[in-house]
């Protein structure tokens, strides 16, 4: 049995981690490893970077093709896609967010890890409100949190 089947928390070694170069350009990371019948991310990708053998296969992102546009993250029914972009000293993480209150651009929020624990601070860089009301929030975190920060807590 995989650990995530027991805990619900996916381990880093279950995820295909992009190279430093790919992360510097910014790519979508699909934290979706089980075989479930679902493929909207494949249809959503404007550059055909996401592929699937059949509807039950986990998605495969071609990190060289992916532009990090986050369209897949907006549509994923499992809210399991995150876009990570490494910068000089910081990292940008774009995550799907479905809670109130919504954070505002420039606001400082808490970065949470995959267990909901505080991992550090995050600065909100962008909030995109989608028509179906799943928001895409981009936060700036310390570089070492690039593969850690997967949620935020708005402190108001």
């Amino acid at each position: 049995m995989k650990e995530y089947e027991k805990t619900g928390v996916i381990a880093l070694n279950e995820i295909r981690i992009p190279s430093e170069e790919q992360l510097k350009r910014g790519v979508a990371i699909t934290e979706c490893v089980q075989e479930i019948p679902c493929n909207p991310c494949v249809d959503a990708c404007p550059v055909d970077a996401i592929s699937m053998e059949n509807i039950n296969s986990p998605p495969f992102v071609d990190y060289d093709k992916c532009t990090g546009c986050a369209q897949c993250a907006a549509v994923c029914p499992g809210l399991a896609i995150f876009v990570v972009k490494l910068e000089e000293e910081k990292a940008l993480v774009t995550l799907p967010y479905e809670f109130l209150p919504l954070p505002e651009k420039g606001e400082e929020v808490k970065a949470l890890d995959r267990e909901g624990k505080e991992a550090g601070k995050a600065i909100v860089k962008r909030v995109i409100k989608k028509r179906d009301r799943t928001c895409l929030v981009t936060v700036e975190v310390d570089r070492e949190l690039a593969m850690v920060a997967r949620n935020i807590r708005v402190v108001k």
Binding site: N39, P40, G78
Partner: protein, 481 residues
């Protein structure tokens, strides 16, 4: 108790009305049910058990469990959870008399139709749309006063492919299906009766004969239908433990109805029992509604639902305890807490592992049982198929049962997902309509739907449904259905 702001839903301010509950004036909003208005007013005890006089609270919220039976405007045994409240209504609890046998003051109406569809959830509406588009006359009946079945509370986005509207929220799919079937209603192909229960099957005189009633409007319907499609859904399972009937112990789906349809919180702090998709999704939706979720306990050693749903909960700080279950719920007339404990490999509680969880709400997400009593009463061949969730009607690939002209679709035919229910409904609707048109052979559209179903059940999470359907089809073949 009422949700003011919600990240996904808008609860528009509706017209305020009032009704009488045991002589007291209670405020309500137009469009909500009697039981939800009572819940919002803090009245959580809805009835008492007849023999031991134990309090009964809101449990299923969709007219299946009978916890909320009351006398409404003098009519006994009304399911208040699916009955919209009206200005000046007189509601009395604990009046569970047997109704008298005559119906002399009521209206009686005869309806002749090509196809009767019982249940207007994802399967039923899909069946009505397909059959209506083929030009047959369709009567679509649901005991709820809203169309859409359980889709109307599903605020999460659906999985699947684009054709099954993946990435779209269930509530939106309900709207789209309703619009489609209302179009057919305008054209006169589909007649829709809501708030109406089909209560019995009375044989076949060339057409199938069924009875239905709208108890609030006091109308009885005598229906003659050439074909009948039963898409009656499912009901939530109960779990046995001391205190399981205390008000505050809800079906997880009941809570989903209360908060996502009516905008009412069940309580402040929840213990969720069951980490299948329902348990995981409803826990997340409780957080969205501003309710705390203490933890999710799951008796199995692994999480049954999708890991992506579990991950959403975990990153919001909700722990999931596998190999743990609920031992008892305690409280004086209402839930005040629960004892959970670890299970060993033989499903026995591990001594000394008890934990006291302070909560005012316990949600049971421990599976569903197909609602198929009308089918059984109509005499279809049935069998107990554990993978389907209980007794189900044996049916062939086109969803026809052993009684010619009677079809089944959706959860009534075996517990699965709304996405597959919609396809099964389409198959049943098409098959029934084409059979009326005198078709003898197979049909391309039906075959396409069948192959989509097979594709959706192909993965590991489809194994249960696959096995259920394999057994059902094998039996159908042996029976010559």
């Amino acid at each position: 108790m009422r949700i003011r702001n919600h990240p996904i839903l808008d609860f528009e301010k509706k017209k305020e009305i009032s009704f009488l509950y045991n002589g007291h004036k209670i405020k309500a909003f137009e469009g909500e049910t009697i039981a939800s208005a009572l819940h919002a007013a803090g009245i959580k005890v809805l009835s008492h058990s007849i023999k031991l006089n134990r309090p009964r609270g809101f449990f299923c919220g969709i007219g299946k469990c009978s916890s909320c039976l009351m006398r409404v405007n003098g009519v006994p045994n009304i399911r208040t959870c699916i009955t919209p409240v009206e200005e000046g209504m007189v509601v009395e609890s604990d009046m569970q008399d047997l109704p008298s046998a005559d119906f002399k003051d009521g209206e009686k109406e005869n309806i002749d139709t090509d196809i009767l569809v019982v249940g207007a959830g994802p399967a039923g509406i899909s069946a009505a749309i397909e059959a209506g588009m083929k030009g047959t006359s369709v009567l679509l009946i649901d005991e709820n006063y809203m169309l859409g079945g359980q889709l109307i509370k599903q605020t999460h986005k659906f999985f699947g492919s684009r054709r099954e509207r993946a990435g779209t929220r269930g509530i939106k799919i309900a709207e789209e299906l309703e619009n489609e079937v209302r179009e057919l209603e305008k054209k006169g192909n589909v007649k829709i009766l809501v708030g109406t229960s089909v209560f019995g099957y009375y044989g076949n005189d060339g057409s199938h004969l069924l009875g239905a009633v709208n108890k609030i409007k006091n109308v009885m319907y005598r229906i003659r239908a050439k074909k009948v499609i039963f898409a009656c859904g499912a009901q939530e399972n109960m779990l046995s433990f001391p205190g399981n009937d205390l008000p505050g112990v809800y079906g997880a789906g009941g809570v989903q109805t209360l908060m996502n349809v009516y905008g009412i919180k069940p309580g402040k702090r929840v213990l969720m029992v069951g980490a299948g998709n329902v348990g995981l999704i409803v826990s997340y939706q409780l957080l969205q509604a501003g309710v705390e979720v203490d933890r999710v306990v799951e008796a199995m050693p692994r999480i049954g639902g999708y890991s992506v749903h579990a991950a959403k909960l975990r990153r919001n700080g909700v722990p999931i305890y596998t190999s743990h279950s609920i031992k008892e719920v305690y409280g004086n007339g209402k839930v005040e807490g629960a004892i959970v404990a670890k299970l060993d490999e033989n499903w026995n509680f591990v001594e000394g592992s008890d934990e006291d969880v302070k909560c005012d709400t316990v949600c049971l997400a421990v599976g569903l049982t197909p609602s198929a009593r009308l089918l059984f009463q109509a005499g279809v061949k049935r069998d107990y198929i554990p993978e389907a969730g209980g007794y189900v009607a044996i049916h062939n690939r086109e969803m026809e049962t052993s009684v010619k002209g009677i079809y089944v679709a959706g959860d009534s035919s075996g517990i699965e997902e709304a996405s597959t229910a919609m396809i099964e409904g389409r198959i049943a609707g098409l098959s029934a309509a084409l059979s009326l048109a005198g078709r003898k052979e197979g049909h391309k559209e039906i075959e396409d739907y069948i192959s989509t179903l097979e594709e959706m059940r192909a993965g590991p999470f489809g194994s249960k449904a696959r096995e259920a359907k394999r057994k059902i089809l094998e039996e159908a073949l042996n029976e010559g259905i």
